[in-house]
């Protein structure tokens, strides 16, 4: 039985989004938005419906930045 992706609660219209560019990592994105790359799990958890592994993000993916 296939595992369905985790769906977030109703989308918050005030949540910021970021479109992944070539060469980005969650750590790099976390550093840009939070000033601390170690906070990347916050981004990963907020995007569990589209990410299954924090090390696998693709250019063009639109991520929530909580």
């Amino acid at each position: 039985m296939a595992t369905e992706p985790v769906k977030p609660a109703a989308e918050n219209p005030y949540t910021q989004h970021y479109v992944v560019k070539k060469g980005d990592t969650l750590s790099k994105i976390a550093e840009e938005f939070y000033g601390d790359k170690m906070l990347y799990p916050k981004i990963f958890e907020a995007n569990r419906d589209v990410l299954s592994d924090p090390n696998k993000i693709k250019p063009g993916q639109k991520l929530r930045i909580p």
Partner: protein, 204 residues
């Protein structure tokens, strides 16, 4: 003898005039009392709404009714009968003005209640998004390059203001004042826009 007769005739005329005056007054008393009672009754029917919606207009009409009652107390029924139509007209005008104002207030309340529905769904999401970002930034070892410590502190105090303002707005709505609640909620939203800008959070 002739002088006595003249005095007698004058006395009769005087008595007759007095009697006519008394009868005349008696004839005016009943309709005058009735008009005052009608004015009081008409005013009583709109007094509560008028006190809330058009207090100064009510005060003026009440003064006119009080003046009529004063004339009754003085026995000046002629003045009552002369003044009553204008007072009744003023009461009717007030009644119409109160009804019009009531409709306006009801329409404004209905519009505000609908607007509150949208704001009450929107503003908590704004608070939630800001709270989430501030919580995460609070755990960071340093702030991002794009955010100064001053801006971060302002954003935190801005969020506190939003929360207290939102509590006031919700309380106003719960107590039935939707118009005031919407005004306050719009204030929270405006504050939220400022905080989002401070944090560099552009939704979407």
């Amino acid at each position: 003898m002739r002088k006595t007769g003249t005095i007698l005739i004058h006395s009769i005329w005087l008595s007759l005039a007095t009697a006519l005056l008394v009868v005349g007054c008696a004839n005016q008393k009943e309709p005058a009392m009735k008009m005052v009672a009608e004015a009081e009754s008409a005013l009583a029917g709109i007094k509560d709404d008028a006190a809330k919606l058009l207090p100064s207009d009510l005060q003026s009409v009440e003064a006119s009714v009080a003046a009529l009652k004063d004339d009754v107390a003085k026995g000046d029924y002629k003045a009552v009968l002369a003044g009553a139509p204008a007072v009744m007209s003023a009461i009717n005008s007030l009644k119409e003005a109160v009804a019009a104002r009531k409709s306006e207030v009801e329409a404004a309340m209905a519009a505000a209640t609908a607007e509150w529905g949208s704001l009450s769904a929107d503003v908590p999401k704004m608070v939630e998004a800001i709270q989430s970002r501030l919580d995460i930034l609070g755990k960071a070892k340093k702030l991002p390059k794009s955010l100064s410590q001053e801006a971060f502190d302002s954003a935190k105090s801005g969020l506190d203001s939003m929360k207290s303002m939102w509590a006031e707005a919700s309380s106003a709505f719960t107590s039935g004042d939707a118009v005031n609640a919407v005004e306050k909620a719009k204030g929270v939203k405006a504050k939220g826009e400022e905080v989002l800008k401070l944090l560099g959070m552009s939704p979407g």
